[in-house]
Symmetry: C2
Subunit: 207 residues, 2 copies
DNA sequence: GTCTATAGCAGGATAGAC
DNA sequence: GTCTATCCTGCTATAGAC
């Protein structure tokens, strides 16, 4: 069906080139649809953009959350380390192809930089429930919720950065972003963040 | 002079709306210049964009680096903590107005997401020298350079995130991004990252 | 250096045939 | 649901007067 094809192509192009950088002409050309099909199916370019978030971005975000729960269930005991590892891994590994994953992070980064209507969707349907869940789990180990919130944002910052900024990471580390390096990056984020969380909770007591 | 005014307005608009989202018409209107002035002074919109990086972004980046050195010089003894604090603070405080600072981070985030010719400038004239400098200083305390590189990227990820993603941070932490919160965020990044670096170096020995 | 006028083109959107 | 043709607007860029 051309509607699905349009959403697929549009998502990729919006992620790569942004909203204004992408044209209906380009989307329909790559989707091998007629130029009028966007307006027929979605009414406007703007509504196509929003539909991309509702029908492609959010379902994928739900998959990432499910991956987190699955990874966590596999663990016999839930230590801070296994929780953080599951959180970090969910953003990098799982059933979603790598290309789609990068698309998601690009879209998020774009919306953070220049929020549109879609930003509220991301906030309410992804960040809020997911981050609060993580905080609830981790607050058993780290009681200071305010500091825990900042720590979760620090983890998310890293996940986002290592995903959407691969070019600079590769250049700076002089490494190809292959399977091996990806696993090293995940382990880096896990260890770095685990000690980080312990640190801010420890230091917090002194204040 | 209208050339400077054009650069100033163009930088702000490019940061807010991106390259394709910003029009010459809008730039000249806000700069109170004639619509033909962009092509007179810069030859093309694209060259205006590049000039923004050369004449506004990079000088500010140099100021940030200088701030780092000044902050570091003030310290009696250079511990990992004082180095990391100087590094983090340089991105948030100093002689540059907050609005300009956010503009810089937005431009960087845009170029990371969708690199143009300007990305090489950022890489070669900002990231490479600055990050290598930090690594050289920190490698006296933490000898494992590979892990240190990833740690520096983790710090940069946080600095970028808390700067260009203020909307989500405010929403999630239920705090206004005022002076007080800013200082808490800086201290959070410092402590989180300090323990993080210690952690990955410690764990690295076991492998 | 600044301005007006305009070329030349690409953009989103729509009407109406099939 | 798909297509062509077309409208209208807005874009970058330039020529040429001042």
């Amino acid at each position: 069906m051309s509607r699905e094809k349009l959403l697929e192509v549009a998502e990729r192009l919006f992620a790569e080139k942004g909203y204004t950088g992408t044209t209906i002409r380009e989307i329909t050309r790559e989707a091998k649809c007629n130029i009028a099909s966007v307006n027929y199916h979605f009414g406007s370019k703007k509504n196509l953009y929003l539909t991309v978030f509702k029908e492609r971005f959010l379902p994928r975000a739900r998959l990432i959350r499910e991956t987190f729960y699955k990874l966590l269930k596999k663990e016999k005991e839930k230590t801070p380390e296994t929780v953080i590892r599951a959180f970090a891994k969910a953003f990098f590994l799982g059933p979603i192809p790598r290309e789609e994953r990068i698309i998601s992070h690009r879209l998020v980064a774009r919306e953070m930089n220049q929020p549109s209507e879609a930003f509220n969707l991301i906030l309410k349907e992804l960040f809020e429930p997911f981050f609060h869940e993580i905080i609830n789990i981790l607050s058993k180990f780290f009681p200071e919720k305010e500091k825990l919130r900042l720590a979760v944002l620090s983890i998310h910052a890293q996940v986002l950065y290592f995903n959407f900024n691969r070019l600079a990471v590769e250049h700076f580390c002089k490494r190809k972003f292959d399977e091996k390096f990806l696993n090293e990056v995940i382990e880096h984020i896990v260890k770095f963040s685990l000690e980080g969380i312990k640190g801010i909770q420890k230091n917090g007591m002194e204040n």
